[in-house]
Structures are given as C-alpha cells and as structure tokens.
Symmetry: C2
Subunit: 345 residues, 2 copies
C-alpha cells in the first residue's frame, strides 16, 4: 500500500527483461518494410539495398562521463546517443537506416526513466528515418550506459573517408563551431536542472546544441553525391583533432587560418564573458557535430552548388592541406602549431 501523496515508482528490476523489452518496443517508431524480423527474436533480420555498401558504427554514452543528469534529461541523453552515431554515418556520405540499442540500466532506475530515455532515442531515430530493429538490456552496478550501433548504406562512388584528399585541397567546415563547448560551459556554471536555459537566444542555442546535437545527415549525403569532395570527417572531438586525422589519413600537413574559423555567436559572447577563448573552444572543444571536408580549389564552383543545396547551413573555407607535414594555425600572421583536440578518454 502506498502512502497518500507518494507515487510508488516501478523500477526496471521489478519489470524484468522481457517486460522491459516489450515496453521499449512499444515506444519506438513502427517497423519499416525492410525489416523481416524485428525486436523480440534471437536476432533481427533485414532486407538490404542492392548496389549499396553498408556503413556501420557504434558509440556509447555513459552517465557521468558523456552526459550529466544534473542538467541533461534522459531524453536528451537518448537523443544524443542516436545523434552522435548519425553524425558518423553522415561523415561517410552514408544514409542511416537501422539501429540496435544496447542499454545498461542501474537497478535504481525507474521504468519512467527508461521511457524518457527511449523517447529521446525515438525522436532522433524518427528525424533520421532510422528503425530500431533490436538491442539488448542488462542491469549494471555502474552508470547508465546507452550504446547505439547504427547501420547505413552508401553507393560505392559516394563513400567518403578521412583519406583521399591531396596537398593543396581546401578545407571547409559546416555551420558554426564552439557551440558544444560553450553550451557545456554554461550548463556547468548555471545548469541546475535539465530545463535550465539561458535568456540570451544565441547562448541558448549553444545549450540546445550541446544537449541535442543536430548531426549533418543531409549535408553528408550531398557531399557524398558531389564528385568533388575528397575527404570528410565529423567534428565530434573538435576541429583540431579532425584536421589532424584528415591530414594524417591523406599523408599531408594542414594550414588553418584562425580568423576564418566560423565561431558560433553565442559561443563568442558567452566564452568571452567568462574569460575563455572562443577560437580555442572551436578548435579543441568537443561536441560540435559539424563536418570537415576537403575540395580541390579548381572545384570551388561545386562548393557554391553544395552551399545552395545546404538549406541555409553555411560552408566556410578555413584553410588547406599542405605538402609540408606540419599542422599549423595562422593567427594574425603568427604561425603556431595546431593545438590538440578534445580527449574523450
């Protein structure tokens, strides 16, 4: 019997594995025609695109490591767990299709918490047109973990890797950078609940992007279709890390112009206010799910075509790949080494 006024919580351990799976399944979008066997058998069975390659990626978000429940809801965490994987498929020029959702749930978690989490996963899955075809639930004595595996497809000639570009190619980024780092910085100072949000619209956009990143799924497909783009990577670990990895994979150096880096206006405002360097945040902060890509200078007109199709998403030239092996940042005519990226581990 429950005390009046207290709502007894149903915990994940009360429901058991099968009950939980049934409950999760009911909250996910309906299956797609490609799915022959969905959630509930030993494995999922799906039909596949002929003539397409398959793109596979996995990324896990852990409570206390990758998200903080003091200022992010479990819906945000679920949304982001799917979004970071969509970003990886986009960076290959691919189209996300199917996902597996593997959850590690602490015993004290309520069933309503799982509902909230799954609703976040489902929201991003619906936006990216992804069907969750299976997964796993297990209890854990450790933190809540959301491990998503995402499967997509890409036509052979549309597949983009980190390598393949050459010295002399221009480097571009989508959108505005530093928003993820600025959003997190604001939340660490002022985020007392998952609903905390700054009054300033530009700063609020940074907070929204930190909690619920918008992976560049459409842009990734456009870049894959363009015959001119020769390398691509997402910025999940920061611009400096992405430049380093693309240059390494291409066997080149890189020269980045600090003044050309498109810093998000909210990040510029908030980070300057607290005495931090917005350009450094754009370079080394994580959690910007924009794309870095390389294009030969003689194909610049293709860039204009891409920009026209990108629905208002800006594409900015920030530097180029170089024959010299060094990775340099040019800042008001001072040349320095490119800083390190964001260290996730």
């Amino acid at each position: 019997l429950s005390t009046p006024g207290s709502v007894p919580q149903v915990l994940v351990t009360d429901l058991g594995e099968r009950g939980l799976i049934a409950r999760i399944r009911a909250r996910l979008p309906a299956s797609s025609p490609d799915v022959v066997v969905g959630i509930g058998d030993d494995a999922a069975v799906v039909r596949r695109d002929r003539n397409a390659l398959q793109v596979l990626t996995t990324d896990a978000l852990l409570d206390g490591v990758h998200f903080d429940r003091r200022f992010c809801s479990l819906a945000d965490a679920g949304y982001k767990a799917m979004a970071v994987n969509v970003s990886d498929i986009a960076a290959m020029g691919g189209e996300p299709r199917l996902a597996l959702l593997s959850l590690q749930l602490p015993a004290g978690l309520s069933v309503e918490d799982v509902d909230t989490l799954v609703d976040g996963v489902a929201a991003m899955a619906a936006e990216a047109r992804v069907t969750v075809v299976g997964g796993n639930v297990t209890r854990t004595p450790g933190p809540l973990a959301i491990d998503v595996t995402l499967v997509g497809s890409v036509r052979p000639r549309r597949c983009l890797t980190r390598g393949g570009a050459r010295a002399g190619d221009d480097l571009y980024v989508s959108g505005a950078l530093g928003a993820g780092a600025a959003g997190l910085a604001w939340l660490r100072r002022h985020g007392h609940t998952p609903l905390s949000r700054p009054d300033d619209d530009a700063v609020a956009e940074c907070v929204d992007r930190y909690r619920r990143p918008s992976p560049r799924a459409r842009l990734g497909r456009l870049l894959g279709r363009s015959r001119s783009v020769r390398a691509c990577m997402d910025l999940s670990d920061g611009l400096a890390d992405a430049v380093r990895q693309v240059a390494e994979a291409c066997g080149t150096g890189a020269r980045i112009e600090a003044g050309a880096i498109p810093v998000h206006p909210g990040a510029r405002a908030f980070l300057s206010d607290i005495g931090a360097d917005p350009v450094a945040a754009a370079l080394s902060g994580g959690d910007d799910y924009e794309l870095l890509f390389a294009l030969p200078p003689k194909r610049t007109r293709h860039l204009h075509a891409l920009a026209g199709q990108a629905r208002g998403l800006t594409l900015t030239r920030i530097g180029r790949l170089t024959r010299e092996a060094e990775l340099v940042l040019v800042h008001d005519d001072r040349v320095q080494s490119l800083p390190d990226g964001f260290a996730h581990f």
Copy 2:
C-alpha cells in the same frame, strides 16, 4: 623510476583513445576482402552478399554481472562476449560475418588486460570467421563492459525464427544441457583463479563450457538449410525459457519429457554430489549455448540426415508442441508446470 622487481603497469588512461584503438586493431585478425573501410574512420564500410538477408544482434557482458574475474580470465570474457552473439546468429540459421566491439574500460585497467580481452574476442572471431570492422572505446567509472554487435547473413528461405512451428511438431535440443550451470556452480565453490579446473574430466568440460561456450554455428546453418525445421532458438536463458518463448511465438503449448532431457554427464555428477537437481539445472540454468528447434514428426527422416551432418553433436527429441496452451513437464508420469527460465536481469 620503478622499484626493482616491480613492473610498472601501463594503464588504459595512459595510452589514450587513439593509442588504445591502434593497439586493439593490431591484435585482431586481418581484414577480409568484404571490408572497404575498416577500423579507424568515422564508420566501417563493407560489401554485402547479394540475395541474402542480413541478421543483426547485440549482447553485452559486464564484469560482476555476466562474468567473475575471480575465476574467469579477461580472455574468457572476451571469447564469451563474441560467442553469445554467434549463438544468436546461429539460432536464426545465419552465418556470422562482421562485428563491432564496444568497450567500456575502467581507468585502473592495464593495457595488458585489454590485450588479453581482445585476444579472447579475436580467438572466437577467428573460429566463427568473423571480422571485427569497428567499434568504440570509452572509459567508465563502473564495471568493465564488452558490448559486441554481430552482423551475419542468411538466405531468405533459410531464415529461422522462434515462430513458424505448429502443434504436433517435435521439439529437439542439440548437445547436453546443464553444463553451463554446473560449471558456474563448481567455479563458485572451488574456482579461486581463472586457471582453477576440476580433476574429473566430465566436470572439467562443464567448467570449460561455462568459461568458453561453443556456439552451434554449424548446426544453425544446417538447420536453416533444412526445409523441415520450422522454429529455432538458442538456450542462453535455459531450456524452460526457450520452450516458453518458442511456444508463445508459435501460438501453441508444449509438453516436455523430463526423462528425455539430455543432461551433461559432468553436470549430473557434480550437481548430484552437491545435492542439486541436474534436470532443474538443465531446465532453468543459463549459459548452455545449444539450440532448441521444432520439426514435424513426418520429417523425422530429415532429422536423421541432420544428425549425420552434425559431426558427433547429438540431437535429442525432448517433447512436442501441443494444441493445449499449457506448458507442461512430464516427470515419471507426474505432470507439472514447466518451471521458469534463467532470469538475466
């Protein structure tokens, strides 16, 4: 400077994410021709079988929940994490092909521990001809977790689900049951190190099977090719659970003959010695990675053909699916309800 006699350990946190990924990659078997882009880009890219459906599954093993480092090595844990997924693909009649390995590593784990774990994953991957094409590493304040996603393929007419069988169909299991439960029971009493092993050969086999299960990959393919097999499931959560799930998916009841259940000789010996019921362990213990399948009685001759191809693996009729909805266990003419399976959660 290290003290003479003490070997300084390199921890996962010393190596960082990229160093760890490079080290893991070097210990995994070489890539297959199907892999266009392997470990190290935003996502993996693979070629796919035309004319085949794809089978997808994921399962995670956590330290302290699914394995115990007091008596299982990290190589055993890695091996088992891959094996349980191979078992799920086998239960669909599929052939495992590609895997993603997602690791959550505590900061105190040494790089040598990760090597050992990956060697175990690689050993099962090599046995099952699986290529690890990608994955993820993250630190965790919680227990070590090994989350494997496995992708396989199956021809459309060879795909086996839990449903599809009818009342009157005979139920068969492969191999001998209770070995997993007996192996765990022995280890909990006598397993002081990951090398502890009983003197008795039959009991030692149970311990070996608990630590390193042999999924029935070959049998699964044979069952899928046979046009007579109408439902299939693996026994990871015990025979009683598998019978319940197959009967539910087929819309039937089931009648299991306790005396017909093939109990592993080591399980019978050790469990009887400690006053436990070997048949109960075969029914409700977990960790037997055998297959349960259904076949119409008029196709019994196909069973003989299958048994001939199964390379010494016994196939035993243990009961049948029934029109009556009840799940019953017949024990020396006493009829009782089928017990519950092993509760993982």
